[in-house]
Amino acid sequence: MKINSPLEAYKYLPQTNCTECGEPTCMAFASKLIDRSAKPSDCPPLIKEKKYTKKLAELERLLAPEIREVVLGVGEKAAKIGGDDVLYRHKLTFFNKTKMFFDVADTMGEADLIERVKKIADFKKFYVGRNLLVDGVAIRAASNDPTKFAAAVKKVAEVGLPMIFCSFNPAVLKAGLEAAKDKNPLLYAANKDNWKEVGELALKYKVPVVVSAFNDLDALKTLAKTFAEAGIKDIVLDPGTYPSGKGLKDSFTNFLKIRRAGIMGDTDIAYPIMALPLTAWMAGVADPVSTSYWETVLASIFTIRYADIMILHSMEAYAVLPEVHLAETIYTDPRSPVSVEGGMYKVGEPDKDSPVFFTTNFALTYYTVESDIAANGIVCWLLAVDTDGIGVEAAAAGGQLTAAKVKDAFDKAGFDLKKDVNHNTVIIPGLAARIQGDLEDALDAKVKVGPMDSGRIPGWMEKNWPPK
């Protein structure tokens, strides 16, 4: 972004405080533009009224992220990459989580290929109320044969995930593009030998394209600039990912340099970057578990330092789980903890005899507790107290979890311990034991202190429920 204060954005707004955008004032809307929680097109007058056309264009230019945003694939599963404005997540937040693409080769047997693609498409890991997924398929033209490649593309395209076409041979890439019209795949890659042909394909088929120059940032920038001048907007950079030794150190340095230059305003190289942790499999490590570990290590480094998209090989759970978790870690918005809506939730179909628990609305806390309870077949009422998304212990220490807050949460949820259940009892987290007395007074109910860890709720229930 070229501006960083709401006042600067305000200049380009209608300044009528019409509230159509849902904000009380244009100034309030301007601050949302600056923290990127709204975009100019969310202001209806700016879009509809002709007289604002120029202002809108200018505002969009000023607010465009430093690193270009590129979309690959189509539809719901399309992958958006790039779009960052900062070098460190605490300065704002990182946008568009690193996308993980897993490879298949066009030399694979049909059954193997379909099985692997299915595995990629089906991967999921539940985490704080959502599923962590992987993002797409990179098809390697290992055969270097256009016909074989096109056949593989056809099969992969059926699952609807975004694709990367991997070949330095323009004839192969072209065959792939013909086989998957309008799927918006990413072309990998244009290099110093084939750039004219591959660039032409990108223009003709209107698809994003990777420019590739290993360990040569002058060449990389030259390719990117040449493409940009020719009208290609959606560019991704591949500076090379060497898997070991000094080569890896050089690759790490290249990623740092490219992103720093991009954020600091060198628009010729301000594009998303691609890493290839898959090269771990070329490093000569004999044993597959070690190689997979090393691939995860490379993926981790480049998730943290600026890869926007990567191509990986190992689908072992011990590789993919830490990879998707780390991307989530680095890209989660540090400005607001992930939280659930406060309120009364049901686990199973609770009735008047079912126990009543409360926890906080920090997503990690809430879902840990809920899954511990549900997985053990306990049917209950579970109140999520709004603690601004802070966990039990930190909220009890920081003042967001008090007897008054809990009472307030019951009231807001319209839940009456004297009417809605027969036992007038609430079970509280062990780590909130300090509010027991106050809560008894506030609710005029029995308050029982549960275990410290929700994993122990089942054992605790055996001994303490129903209340005597």
């Binding site: 004839a171 390719l223 040449t226 060497y242 150190k249 490093a283 000569g284 981790s300 480094i301 680095i330």
Partner: protein, 443 residues
């Protein structure tokens, strides 16, 4: 105590994960799978063995191999020879819009605001300094973020491997490496150094906790002496975490290790930090300044140690708290990165090397649970491979954020973390790899 599950029950366990999953499982304790039957090779179901591939002897072999593969200073080995296939360029597509390359030079400047060097802190005294350690370790001294090109990092990352003064519950994948030495802190320490390549040892005096065994400060001091005799690397001395007792325990331990320049872990705001600082000064040790994910609390404690307790700058290391991957690593990572950036830009209350309790990674359910407690997740695969990589990724993330010293447990995690941090540090060579052929390569 950990719960033992017989091999015959294991099949059921995989089926009935939900039922067994959480009750009675301590975060650090664990469900243990007793594999004596399987390892002995006596008549087991091959299907089961296939599911449990990870539980078999192959596992140990794998880890052995990983460790030697990543064992520093062993290199990565020769690259697989892959024939580079020159891409065939089809001339038919020659292009009107793309005629000539527009040459461009890439250039980026160094960060001018990074003006301040992180304090260098030595650990361990050799005979030259009046101690008995075989070598001294130095952490800190950076002038840029770790591994950055702005300024070379003067000292590599160091790993100190945990030893406990009593048998404790550990995740199975960790425990199998230490089972036979867990009753002898000296033997345990030795194994960490001789077999697992530890740069340092941390002895945790957890039995002193009144709620554990309430052993005396004197007994704890004996354990410290035992460890100092068993190994000649520098050591860190950890209390039990009991704020009432730790100052006394650590002071006594400091006294018997006088002159060895140990790291006393830890001073914190909720205990008598002054007493620990005093012991450090009197007996020639360093202090670990520990706060919980709070940069301002970290500044406050460092300030108190320096101004109120007169601890010299070259005796302070910070532990800003490590939360595991998936369990708050976002907070831990950013806290460290912010601390390091503030220090480089001149905040002299934060210009200290950092230490991470990387072992905390084993608190994450993904690292130790047999499988997902949720039916709809994709298969979590063998936990024996999940645990070490969870520790590696937690540690590696913090290494990139600015952490210098790692307190770790799993030997494989130690080996891989060393391999990667030393690669980024720039001291590990490897055969060049022709990455241009990755598209055709057999992977």
């Amino acid at each position: 105590m950990a719960k033992k599950v017989k091999l015959s029950e294991v099949t059921d366990m995989f089926k009935g994960m939900e039922i067994l999953s959480l009750e009675g499982v301590k975060i650090e304790g664990d469900i243990e799978i007793d594999l004596s039957g399987l390892l002995g090779g006596g008549g087991f179901d091959p299907m089961l063995a296939a599911i449990l591939g990870q539980e078999s002897a192959m596992l140990a072999q794998h880890f052995g191999r990983i460790a030697s593969m990543f064992g520093v200073p062993v290199g990565m080995g020769a690259p697989a020879a892959v024939g580079g296939v020159a891409p065939g360029v089809s001339p038919a597509l020659a292009a009107p819009k793309l005629k000539d390359l527009i040459p461009a030079k890439f250039d980026v400047s160094k960060i001018a605001e990074w003006t301040t060097q992180i304090q260098e802190v030595p650990l361990g005294n050799t005979s030259a300094d009046g101690g008995t350690r075989g070598k001294q370790v130095i952490v800190g001294g950076e002038k840029a973020l770790p591994f950055y090109f702005d300024a070379p990092m003067p000292h590599r990352n160091q790993v100190t491997i945990d030893v406990f003064d009593m048998r404790i519950g550990l995740a199975k994948a960790v425990k199998e490496n230490y089972d036979e030495v867990m009753d002898s802190p000296g033997e345990w320490a030795k194994k960490n150094v001789d077999k697992f390549n530890a740069d340092m040892i941390t002895i945790h005096l957890i039995s002193t906790d009144p709620l554990v065994k309430d052993t005396s400060a004197k007994d704890a001091a004996k354990t410290v002496e035992e460890v100092l005799q068993a190994v000649d690397v520098p050591i860190a001395i950890g209390g039990s975490g009991n704020p009432q007792k730790d100052p006394e325990v650590l002071s006594k331990a400091a006294e018997v290790s006088e002159g060895e320049r140990c790291l006393l872990a830890s001073a914190s705001l909720n205990l008598d930090y002054a007493k620990i600082a005093e012991a450090a000064l009197k007996y020639d040790h360093d202090v670990l300044s520990w706060t919980q994910l709070d940069m301002n609390a970290q500044k406050e404690l460092n300030r108190k140690l320096m101004k109120q307790c007169n601890v010299p700058r070259d005796r302070i290391i910070m532990d800003p708290t490590t939360a595991a991957l998936g369990y708050g690593l976002d907070y831990a990572y950013t806290n460290m990165e912010r601390i390091r950036l503030a220090a480089l830009m001149g905040d002299d209350e934060l210009t200290f090397p950092m230490s991470s309790g990387t072992t905390n990674a084993w608190g994450a359910r993904e690292s130790w649970m047999v499988g997902s407690p949720l039916g709809q997740d994709s298969d979590w695969g063998p936990r024996e491979y999940r645990g070490p990589i969870w520790e590696i990724v937690t540690g590696l993330s913090l290494a990139i954020a600015g952490n210098d010293l790692f307190m770790m447990m799993h030997p494989t995690a130690v080996a891989v973390l060393k391999q990667i941090t030393q690669t980024l540090f720039g001291t590990l060579e490897a055969e060049p790899v022709n990455i241009a052929s990755w598209i055709e390569a057999e992977v």
